[in-house]
Amino acid sequence: MSIIEAHDVTYKYVTKYQTVNALNGVNCAFEEGRLYALVGKSGSGKSTLLSLMAGLMLPTTGEIVFEGKPTSSINLDKYRRENAAVIYQSFRLLPLLTVSENVTYPMELRGFKGKKARDKAAELIKKVGLPDTVLDRFPNMLSGGEQQRVAVARAMSMDTKLLLADEPTGNLDTENSRRIIDLLIDLAHNDGYCVVVVTHDPEIASRADTTYRIRDGVIFEEKQAVPAV
């Protein structure tokens, strides 16, 4: 059963000079335990779709429905806090917080504080393959790959079912890209996340359970979904 669906979603970017139809009647659905890849050319609308799914904005027409409820009818802050975790290409860690604090931040937003939160953060950091020593470091003391893994840990700390990643390997080298892909696949297949990845990376696309291609705002399913493991 799909956790999030797009129903005839359109999105228009309106500027003073032009109106761009980023999405034109997108219909798609995403299930838990699967890794989805959204591919397409630059400007095709894939990041727009991801932003709509992340609750960063609302569709111009149509609906994004999360667990049966359109995002337009729910509190988006709460939705982002509890239901949608996002990983960005440029990590977007909070620079003034240590690794541990970055990871515990979403937990604290949900009232999960103190030692328990820090222990969980340490656990997640370990899970994403980083040593304990990074916990007290600031993000800018880490490499890009390490920062992205911290970002993944932060996303995992949110304890959501939906994990959205916008070109998570875009700023990483091959080795780190591979590690992140493995991590995301692991999260989808072993931890049951619905992982949606916007990417240009063919490796991710090839390893995704389902690949959607977006062209001129229209979505096409390119690779048949396989049953979740």
Binding site: L56, K78, R81, L93, E108, F138
Partner: protein, 1047 residues
Amino acid sequence: MLAIRNGVKSALRTPGKTILFALILTMIAALLAVSFSVFSAVRGYINDCNGYFHTIAELEYVGRDYPDPFVYDEAVAEAVEENRGLIDELMANEAVTAFEPASAYIAVSDSIHRFDENVMDPNAAVLDVNVMSYDSELSMYTVLVNNSLYSRNDYTGKLVLLKTFDGMDAMQIGKNYTIAGRFFKGNTSNPWFAAADLTYSEGGVEVTVDKPVLSSEVGPDSEFHKLARDLHFKNDSVRVTYTSSIEDLYPFHQQILKLDSGRFFTEEEYASRAKVCIISERIAGLLDLKTGDSIRLDIFTSDGGNVYDSGSLRETDSGEYEIVGIQTDSASFPYRVFMPVPDSSGGIVNVNGYTLGQFRLKNDKAAAFSEASAALFEKGFRVNVYDQGYSAATEPMRELLLISAVFLAVCLLMAVCALALQSHLFVGRQREAARTMHDLGSGKAHIIVYFLSSALLLSLIGAALGCAAAKLMEGRVFGLLKDFASQFANTDLRFSSSSLALSRTLELSPAPGFIVYLAAGLVLAAGAVILTLIFSAAAMKTRTGSAGKRTVKARVPRRARTSRLSGMFKYGLLSMRRGGARTIAVLAMGVVAAVFFGRLVSSLEGYREQLASYIENAQISGYATDSEGHRLSGLVLKSKPIFALSSSDLVKDCNFSSGFGHIMFIWKVGDKYVEYTHPATSFAYETTFDKIWKSPAWTGVSSVSGSPLFHYSASGSVEWLEGYGEEDFKRVDVVRGTYEDYDPYTGETRTEEYAYETGLQICALSRDTMEEYGIKLGDELEAAYGYYADNGSGMISYISGLKVVACYTSATKSSEVFSPLTLVQPDRAFAAMSNYYDESELENGGQDMVWINGERITRSTLAKYRELGLVPGLSYSSFTFGLADNTRLDELRDKLTECGFTYVRSNDRHMTPAVIEDEIYLNTVHSMERQIQYVSVLYYALYIMAGAIGFVLAWLFVMSRRREIAVQRALGTQPARILLNFFLEQAILIFAGLALGLAATKLTGVDPSPMQLMLCAAFLALWALASLICLITGLRRRSFAALTEPE
């Protein structure tokens, strides 16, 4: 063309930016043009002032009879000789452009026969007469005038009644005599004449004819003929003044004399010493002359003495002089003739009167010149600078010039900044476009033209609009400028010493031409071209370098332990703690703002305190004076206005003096005779009388140091005998005694008691006098003194036991003897003060009125007079006063008018002129007020600027963190939580910074003022407001765009 078209297109396709910059540049161009036009208008006005106003300085010596313009005083020549070095030094001062020495010339003409109040001895005459008869009852001869050797009217052929005098030899009927004496008013139609010694000292002339009546067998060289000539020179001459610049001559310079008709001298007339002259209206009226006529004049001068003494005169020139102008008359400068002379800048020559000459000065160096003349001031000289109002007109304008220059500089800086920003945005930010154009084969010139087309077009539009706006605002701006100028011109200067030098005004009428606005526009356009070229060059240069590959060094904070903080404000608190440079910057901003506000506020308060302190402590004094404002005693001042002003609470330290014509001859010091003639017992009464007239003046004063001598010379000191002081000059003792009163009806003689009040028998002498007579402090003198009564008669009185309690030194070599006023006042004054008034006049009309010296006053008023040491109805020779409260200066001006004083050079001769010496005070206060005004405006601008900077910085601080905000929002943080965290962080940091700044201010020993606290609070509020606005806008949904922005 392509480049231009594309350039213009690029500007038009970013209309927001283009309009914004067009507006900015329009505003800056307008400000630039306005400030430039104001600057040029003020500068032009100051330049005009330099040409319009002329500054001169009169050099005077304050001698015995100062400011008598006719007297010959040998002390002047001596003082000049002694101080020649100092005078030469002053003449060589860089401020001096020329020195015109005063000289004593007189001109006589047979046609000039004066009948005016300025004739020195109008009734004196020397006559050849034939004795007709003698009336023994009247003791008068009737004589027929054969010839008027000298007389104001021609009495030839007329009968005159000749009054004899004691000891006069009898005249024989039918014989001829030459007689000298004065006509006086008799009770018959025939003129009455008294043969008398013509010995007098007025005007410095001393002519003595021991035997006024002689037989007619006297030749033309006799004393009578000499006397007749002297009288002719003395009475019928006119003063001639040679000048190389008549308009700069004191009376014309100060507008005391004005040209009534005709013209001044031409350059050629000065250079060739042409025989032309300008005469007074009186001479013209007397001789029925008009401009273009000629006058025959014989010009004389003295080789070293009195110009009215025929014995020392020599003729220097004579002939027909063409009258080129006729000047108005003035009581101070009657019967004057002015003649041209080439500019010689010669030294001081023999003078009559006390004016030694005048300097022509550079306007802007007059103040320094005045300071340089201080050394001469201490030697008894006085240098009076007259600038016609130059400093009053230009000083505020100089400050305005400075302000406008600063404003102009700020505008230029703003223009440079705006143009630089414009160049950066329109050129610098288009490096990629430049690179592309370059790659596509465009030449450098093409690229530059492309940029110029966009940037320059904008600048030209801005400059044109701005300059047009400035031109439209011109009237308003110059109106404000004129208001500013008139603000100072409208200062109440009644009685003010500032107005003594004020003789002209020049209205500020700014009218800069179109060229000023064009220049402002061109400056802006030129700036735009230059900066565009610089930025274009920079944009093209980066092509060859590593453009666009800038590496940003990451900020690496120190390693920190993971915080155990939790809760709503955790992020804000951590951000404050870990903000590093940003936290320090905000704190520093707070500290700087608090200290900055503190400095500004304290400096402004300091200026205000200085002003208040100056107003409170400055000593303003005033004095009664003559019609020209000279500082002198020897005036005839009625007691009524002096009493009216002295009894007012507006003044304090009132000092008045009176000599009552007393002149003192000291003959005994203690037991030692300094002159072996005892006047009281001497048979040589005349000798005593002569000695009295050559002796020091005896002046009654209410205070020694407050006497005119010290008040006017501003130098000198008083040494007191132990146990004595100023208060002893105010003390009044009651003298008691008895007298025998014979009653003719009863034939009894009763002993009556008497009592009257008088001052202490003490005096203060000059050191020179004490040395001359061998007097020491504590000695007692015996002296004779004489005085003239109102009717012209004189008498000699004696005083003994006059104790010398003070010794003074003064620059003017005065030998005056000062005693308490209550001692020197004549007997009738004592009588008045001692209740010797007519009892029958009391209880008049229900009021307790008394008659005192012709004045009818109440007893209570009399008591006030006595309290002040004044006597109703008497005249005083000087009056000085101090202002009790400087803030009531204007009230004092009203009070002076109310008391019956008038201004210097007013036409009201019935009132006493008075001067308030407030020039320095007014200049200082006005200058400080202007400074405070400017500083206040400047500081308010700085407060606003600081507030704006704070606002922008706070905005930028928050804006720079929009990605953090976006991430937090993306993570689902409630906007309120983000807002609170960021807002509190900013508020707490800036508050802490301001608190630290205030603490720092306190540590420096200065308590933060309410104004500083208010400004800090306003800064905090602005900072918080900016943070809040930025946060609110940053928390909008669009803020997520920051997530996708590159780092």
